[in-house]
């Protein structure tokens, strides 16, 4: 049985949507026990309103919570009994196997860094994110590629980037059922010598690996095309890229709204395209993906979107169970050990 700990108080729609998502997951995930961490009185009032399996959802009381806009280090210091800290601690004490949270990202990363060990061979953890792409991948025909790191580690070495490549590849194999994910380094040119020294050195190390399907460097424009399944970069660049891609998406939506208002012909054009746009929206719906992992620690951590609703949380729990059932952390550790043995 996999014990998945859920930070029930983290997220814009917490706790109601988080509890509802967990309740639904208790009916769908036969081999899992779900531990809701948060104010027991509040959770005890919400849970009986939902269809769930009372033998598979339990509550662990945590009297405090960290708001989305709080500074992580200060908040964790002031609230050692915050739901995210208690959730991570439960796993560290062997009372849970994985954590799912839609709460404050910084606090989540920091709580894990303080209580969990990094896997052997991994020097720094990486936060991954998914981005919709033109090309699809894996047995699930997944329309998302994985980008990591998007903010857990600001300064990286070539060794860190190799670790990120191993972790991203292991995750893509498991979640997208992609047997040999294409792994690429993000750079300012496809040539091996392009980019800062750590990218050039990482490229040199990755071309030597047989464990990974390394396809070389890709540029920013290759990300939405879906040329690679796993895009590896440092946390600073990854975060800038991710925010820019999100910004572009939002701008496109705003431009469509503008077009809708501006001219009748444009409006008619949008109406004609509406079913295609709906299909595209469904394909790229991040809620179906559930969340993205924080990789590198000895336990899986799935970071759900801050605006996650019940459906997204249920899917994040499914991802967590998949990570446990597929021994994600074990696979990463094994690949890292194989790499270390050869070098």
């Amino acid at each position: 049985m996999h014990r998945i700990v859920v930070d029930a108080m983290g997220g814009d729609l917490a706790p109601d949507e988080i509890v509802q998502g967990a309740a639904e997951a208790s009916l769908q995930l036969a081999g899992a026990e779900i531990i809701l961490v948060g104010d027991a009185a509040v959770l005890g009032r919400i849970l009986p309103r939902m269809r769930h399996d009372g033998a598979r959802v339990r509550v662990h009381h945590a009297p405090a919570l960290i708001e989305m806009d709080e500074k992580p280090a200060e908040a964790l210091a002031a609230k050692p009994e915050a739901s995210i800290a208690v959730a991570v601690d439960l796993v560290a004490r062997g009372e849970g196997d994985a954590v799912v949270s839609a709460g404050n990202t910084g606090a989540s990363v920091l709580a894990c860094a303080r209580r969990w060990k990094l896997l052997a061979g991994i020097k720094r953890a990486a936060l991954a994110a998914v981005f919709p792409t033109e090309l699809r991948r894996g047995e699930k025909d997944d329309p998302f590629s994985l980008i990591l790191d998007v903010g857990a580690t600001v300064e990286v070495t070539a060794e860190d980037l190799v670790g990120f490549a191993v972790m991203g590849s292991a995750y893509a194999k498991l979640v997208s059922q992609n047997r040999r994910p294409r792994v690429a380094l993000l750079s300012n040119g496809t040539e091996p010598g392009k980019g800062p020294p750590e990218i050039v050195a990482a490229h040199a190390a990755l071309v030597e690996t047989t464990e990974l399907n390394f396809i070389g460097n890709v540029e920013g424009l290759d990300i939405p095309r879906g040329v690679a399944d796993v895009i590896v970069t440092g946390g600073f660049t990854g975060n800038v890229v991710l925010k820019m891609l999100e910004g572009v998406s939002e701008t496109v939506v705003r431009l469509a709204r503008y077009a809708h208002k501006e001219r009748l012909a444009w409006r008619l054009g949008l109406v004609a395209l509406s079913s295609a746009i709906d299909q595209l929206k469904q394909l790229t719906d991040w809620q179906q993906y559930g969340g993205a992992p924080l990789l590198g620690f000895e336990y899986p951590f799935i970071k759900a979107h801050g605006r996650s609703n019940a459906r997204a949380i249920t899917n994040a729990l499914k991802v967590a169970q998949k990570a446990l059932a597929g021994n994600l952390t074990g696979n990463i550790a094994r690949t890292m050990a194989e790499l270390a043995e050869r070098t």
Binding site: L27, R49, M50, H61
Partner: protein
């Protein structure tokens, strides 16, 4: 006067009538001179004792052709029924399954080693032959008189009822409890029967039974097995006497608090659930936490059970169970689950009387909606 199809078929030889499920098996009640039971346990079968799917026509057909060996009891239900079978206890089964299922259901109970004193099934063939199609779906006009008749035949000072969340069991059981306790007037009951679309002569018969039934505050506890995983909050209006349970370990815990079961008997229910392979120790510990959180047992009860179970285990209740961790470890895990809840305040209950006419109307509406949605 012209004889009805039912009257004509009723004159068929007994064996043929039995085979096609034509006859009712009206409980005979106590033998002359027999002492009255101390405690009566009334059980539904489908979705309460037996895992039955009848949400679609295919499910119904499959269920009809299943043999006794194919039928599956819910984990823990058999151990609980056996534990309840004590001297002075009476086990009465009232099920909405058709009388044609009598042989296979009786064989299943015999296979499980469950003995019973009464076994009443619904005679839908009789309803069809009499052209009473409304009665085929009706639950209150069928179950309520069956239970009242049973109590008239053998009245116990204590009764415990077991049903499920698929039909109107919660309403029927509370109505029965209140009729037996003398809290429902004959006028109110008549209005409830009109709302439940009972035929006039059936309503007259039920009102007569309600007048005659021995009155007492007998029904102390009702369990609703959450087969459909209905949200438990929907049952709060029925008060603390009606307990929705996710599994029979939870029912055993409540019966332990009610002093109906011993710690040792609770262990047997738990072991049967573990042996089913559908539950692990963690699920049982979480089930304890769930009933405490919902205010259905006290924390002290769970802690007392842990201590008493430890004694029972030492006296051999767990002997030969090398598949389980040491009992101290199990008890510690259970205590930890209780502690995890922190200092949650006790649940409070309203004691407003139930408006059965409104409940029946709501239930009909709910059933109509489900039918429209294709959910049976």
């Amino acid at each position: 006067m012209k004889r009805s199809l039912f009257d004509r078929i009723s004159s068929l030889p007994g064996r043929v009538g039995e085979k096609i499920g034509l006859f009712d098996h009206v409980p005979e009640g106590l033998a002359p001179g027999a002492p009255p039971p101390r405690h009566t346990f009334r059980w539904d079968l489908d979705k309460t004792y037996l895992r039955t799917e009848f949400d679609s026509f295919t499910d119904l057909a499959k269920s009809a052709f299943e043999t006794a060996a194919d039928k599956q009891a819910y984990p823990g239900a058999t151990a609980l029924l056996r534990a309840l079978r004590q001297d002075g206890h009476r086990i009465c089964i009232v099920s909405g399954s058709p009388t044609q299922m009598r042989q296979v259901l009786a064989a299943k109970l015999a296979l499980d080693g469950v003995t019973h004193d009464e076994f009443v099934l619904k005679n839908n063939l009789k309803n069809i032959l009499r052209g009473r199609f409304r009665a085929m779906r009706a639950q209150i006009p069928y179950k309520l008189p069956a239970m009242l008749r049973s109590r008239i035949g053998a009245a116990a000072p204590h009764e415990t009822l077991f049903g499920d969340d698929a039909e109107a069991d919660a309403i029927i059981y509370c109505l029965y409890a209140d009729v037996v306790a003398g809290r429902v007037s004959i006028d109110h009951l008549e209005r409830v029967l009109i709302a439940s679309r009972a035929y006039d002569d059936d309503a007259g018969m039920i009102l007569d039974l309600a007048r005659r039934v021995p009155k007492a505050e007998a029904v102390g506890r009702m369990f609703i097995h959450l087969d459909r995983k209905s949200p438990p909050i929907g049952f709060r209006r029925f008060g603390p006497r009606l307990v929705p349970v996710y599994n029979y370990y939870q029912a055993a815990l409540v019966l332990y608090e009610d002093k109906v079961l011993s710690a040792r008997q609770v262990i047997f229910v738990a072991l049967e659930m573990l042996d089913s392979g559908q539950y692990e120790l963690g699920h049982l510990a979480t089930s304890v936490q769930d009933v405490i959180r919902r205010g259905r047992i006290k924390r002290e009860t769970a802690l007392q059970l842990a201590a008493e179970t430890q004694d029972a285990a030492q006296s051999g209740a767990l002997s030969g169970r090398t598949d389980l961790p040491p009992f101290e470890q199990i008890a510690a895990a259970f205590r930890e689950r209780v502690r995890e809840l922190g200092g949650v305040a006790d649940v409070t209950w309203d004691d407003d009387p139930l408006d059965y006419v409104r409940l029946v109307d709501e239930e009909h509406e709910h059933r109509r909606t489900r039918r429209k949605q294709g959910m049976g």
